[in-house]
Symmetry: C2
C-alpha cells in the first residue's frame, strides 16, 4: 500500500529482537502537522513523555517518527529518558530537523532501559531505505505478540480532490479502553492544522481504540499519531461539518485498525460486539459493557463457544450500573435469551452456533433509559495463557 503524498517510511532490524525487524521510521519530507493521543496510565514510558513534550514544543509539527519493538523503555527512570533522548537526537541529526520534530514510540517489555545504541546504529540504514512503499516494512517492525500486521486505508474528497488516509497499528495484549500497548500511526495528505487534527482524532479515537478491550490491562506506552502533509490541494480544513468526508475516512481507518487489534487479541479466535442500551445514562451503560468485556468467565465461555449467558448477566449485575433486573433483556446474534429478567426458551444448538461465529454481537438492554455504550472484546483461550505465562523469560 502506497503512503499518502508527502510520506516515506522504512523498517529495519536493529537487533533488539531476535531475527525480526524492530525499528520503523516514518518521515514527512516537508514536515507534517500532527496530533496525538496517549495512554492514561500513571506510569508514562520515557518515549511517551518525550513525544508529548516534542509535539507541544514544536507546535504540532512532526518531521520523523522512530518506533521500536522489543523494549517499552517504561519505568526505567532517568536512564531510560536519556536513552530515548539520544534516539531522538540521532534521528534529528540524520533528518536535519529540530529534535522536537522527532516523535518517538516504543513497545515491548517494561522495566528494561532502551538499548539506544542499537537503534542509533540502525537509523542510517533506515533512512537509506525510506520509500513511499515502506508501509509494509513499518507494519512488520512494530509488532510484538501480534499474529500479523495491521494496515488500513480510506479515501476522502476535499474541494473536488481525492485525498487519502493510511494507517498502521500494532496491538494484542493489554488492549483496553483508554488505550493499551497499542501504537497507531495515521498519515494523510489533507491540508489540516494541528488543532483541527486534534479535534478529529479525539472523536475518531473515542469511537475506535477507546472502544476495544482485550484483557483490561492498559499500557505505559500507547500512542495514536495522526499526521497531515498538506500535499493535497485545497484550502485548510477548519470545520468538521465541511470536512465530513475526511472525518469519516479518519474514523474508518481507526475503526478498521481497532477491529484488527481485537480480532488479533493474544490468542483470540472471536470478537464480542457488546452493545448496552436503555441504561440510565452513558456512565451506567459503560460500566455494564466494561464488566462484560473484561469478565474472565465470559471470555472463557466465549473461547469454548459456550452460550453461558448467566455469566454475561452476572457480570452486568456486579458492574455497579443501576438498573432493575426485571427490566433487562439479552439478545445474542438476533436470538433472544432473556426477556425482562426471565430466560426465554431457545434452541441450545442454535445458541452454540451463534457463540462459535467470528463475530458474536451481544445486545444488553437495561431498561428504558437513554444510556448507551458499545465495546469490542475478544475471547480468552489457551493461547492467551501460553503467550502470556512466559512472554518475558
Amino acid at each position: 500500500m502506497r503512503l499518502p503524498k508527502g510520506f516515506v517510511a522504512s523498517g529495519v532490524r536493529a537487533g533488539i529482537r531476535k531475527k525480526r525487524p524492530d525499528v520503523a521510521l516514518i518521515v514527512a519530507d516537508g514536515g507534517a502537522n500532527a496530533a496525538a493521543v496517549f495512554t492514561r496510565n500513571r506510569y508514562l514510558a520515557a518515549p511517551v513523555v518525550l513525544a508529548k513534550a516534542a509535539l507541544k514544543g514544536s507546535g504540532g509539527r512532526v518531521r520523523g517518527v522512530v518506533v521500536n519493538s522489543g523494549c517499552a523503555n517504561a519505568i526505567t527512570g532517568p536512564e531510560g529518558m536519556a536513552a530515548a533522548r539520544r534516539v531522538q537526537e540521532k534521528a534529528a541529526e540524520l533528518l536535519s530537523c529540530p529534535k522536537g520534530e522527532i516523535f518517538v514510540a516504543s513497545t515491548g517489555v517494561i522495566g528494561v532501559v532502551l538499548p539506544d545504541e542499537l537503534i542509533r546504529q540502525a537509523l542510517p540504514g533506515a533512512v537509506y531505505r525510506l520509500s513511499g512503499l515502506g508501509l509494509a516494512a513499518v507494519s512488520q517492525a512494530i509488532l510484538t505478540t501480534d499474529v500479523g500486521p495491521k494496515v488500513a486505508q480510506a479515501s476522502f474528497t476535499w474541494h473536488g480532490k481525492r485525498g487519502r488516509v493510511v494507517g498502521v497499528a500494532k496491538g494484542a495484549g493489554m488492549i483496553h479502553p483508554n488505550m493499551a500497548t497499542m501504537l497507531a500511526f495515521l498519515m494523510t495528505d489533507a491540508p489540516a492544522s494541528p488543532a483541527f487534527l486534534r479535534e478529529v482524532l479525539k472523536q475518531a479515537n473515542e469511537e475506535s481504540f477507546n472502544s476495544i478491550s482485550v484483557d483490561g490491562d492498559t499500557s505505559t506506552n500507547d500512542a495514536v499519531l495522526l499526521m497531515a502533509s498538506g500535499k493535497l490541494d485545497g484550502p485548510a480544513m477548519t470545520s468538521r461539518a465541511e470536512a465530513h468526508s475526511f472525518v469519516k475516512a479518519v474514523t474508518q481507518v481507526c475503526r478498521d485498525l481497532a477491529w484488527m487489534i481485537v480480532r488479533d487479541g493474544e490468542g483470540a479466535s472471536r470478537v464480542m460486539e457488546i452493545d448496552v442500551r436503555g441504561a440510565r445514562n452513558v456512565r451506567d451503560a459503560k460500566l455494564a459493557a466494561h464488566a462484560v468485556a473484561t469478565s474472565p468467565l465470559v471470555k472463557t465461555a466465549l473461547a469454548g463457544g459456550d452460550p453461558n449467558w448467566g455469566r454475561i448477566l452476572a457480570a452486568v449485575g456486579r458492574s455497579g450500573a443501576r438498573f432493575a433486573p426485571s427490566k433487562t433483556s439479552l439478545t445474542v446474534g438476533g436470538l433472544k435469551l432473556v426477556e425482562r429478567g426471565v430466560p426465554v426458551p431457545y434452541s441450545e444448538r442454535e445458541a452454540v452456533k451463534l457463540f462459535l461465529k467470528e463475530r458474536v454481537p451481544l445486545l444488553i438492554s437495561l431498561g428504558d433509559g437513554p444510556g448507551r455504550a458499545t465495546l469490542l472484546s475478544c475471547d480468552l483461550g489457551h493461547d492467551y495463557v501460553t503467550l502470556n505465562a512466559d512472554y518475558r523469560t
Copy 2:
C-alpha cells in the same frame, strides 16, 4: 471434625449433579441465632432473596439450612422463586418449624430453575442421616468446581469456658471482593444475639471473604451465614471488646476459609498476597490492589512463574489511584524490584524462585500516605481456561 454443640448436619445425593452428593442439611436442634451477609450483585438468585427475607422475618432465628450444588436457581424469574419456596416449605415440615426459620442457598449454573422435586425427595434421607459428625458430608455436597472441601475451626474462651467456631465453605470461580459464588456456613456454641453476630460477621467478612479475588467476577448467589446455638454456658455477649476471643475465632475461621478458596481458585497453583501501602487514602489503595488482583497479564505471568513486575506496576498505573510514579516501590517476597520509580538490579534467578512459591507476597508502596489495602488473588493458568471454557455444556 465434630460440630459445635447444638448442631447436626448431613450431605446426600439428590440427583441434581451426576454421581456426586449435591444437597447439604444443617440443623440447629434448639434453633440458633444467626446473621448473614449476601452478594451485592444486582441479580439476586431466588434462594438469596428468600434467605434474606426469612432471616428478617424470623428476627434472626434459624432452625435449618438447606444447600444445593449443581443449580444456582438465579435469573429464573417467578418459577425459580416458587421452586425455592417449595424446598423451604418441605424442610420446615420435616423439622417442624416455621418456614421462615429455614435458610436456603444454591450454587451452580445460572438460568436453570431449581429441580426442587429432587431436593424435596432427598430431604427425608438427609434428616435421617443428621449427625454431629456430618460436617465432612456437608463440605462435599456444596462443592462445584472446587478441587477439595474446605473446613476450618477455632476455639475461644468466654467466662472461663471453651467454645468453638466451625466453618465450611465452597468457592472457586467468580471469587471476588463483595462476595462471589461463594458459600460459607459458620457454627458456634457462643451465646450471642443476632445483632451481635451481625456486628462480628460484618467485620470478619471484610477482613476475609471481601479481601479475596480469583477472577473479578462476583456471583448472584453468595452468602455467608453465622449461627450461634448458645449452648455454651455464660452471659450473652454484648461487647466486642469483652468477647474479643470469640471475635478473633470467627475472624480466623473466615480467613482460613478465604485462603483455601483463593488457593483452590479454578486451576490455581499459587496465591498473590497483595499489600498496598502509602496510598493517599484507603480508596486509592483498594483501587490499586484490585487492578493488580484482577489483571489477566499479572495473573498469567504468575501462572508461568515469570517475575514480570512491569505488568504489576502497569496495572497499578491504570487503576485510577492517584500517586506519583517517582515515589512508588515494589517488593516481592522481600526482594526489592523497584525503588522510587526506578528498577533495582536484582538476581533474575532469585526473582523466578520467589514467583514459583505457593505464596507470593507483593508489597506495593505508593508514597507516604496513610492508605492501605490487602487482597489475595491467584494465578490464571491453563486449568482455569479448561474448567471455564466448557463448564456448562
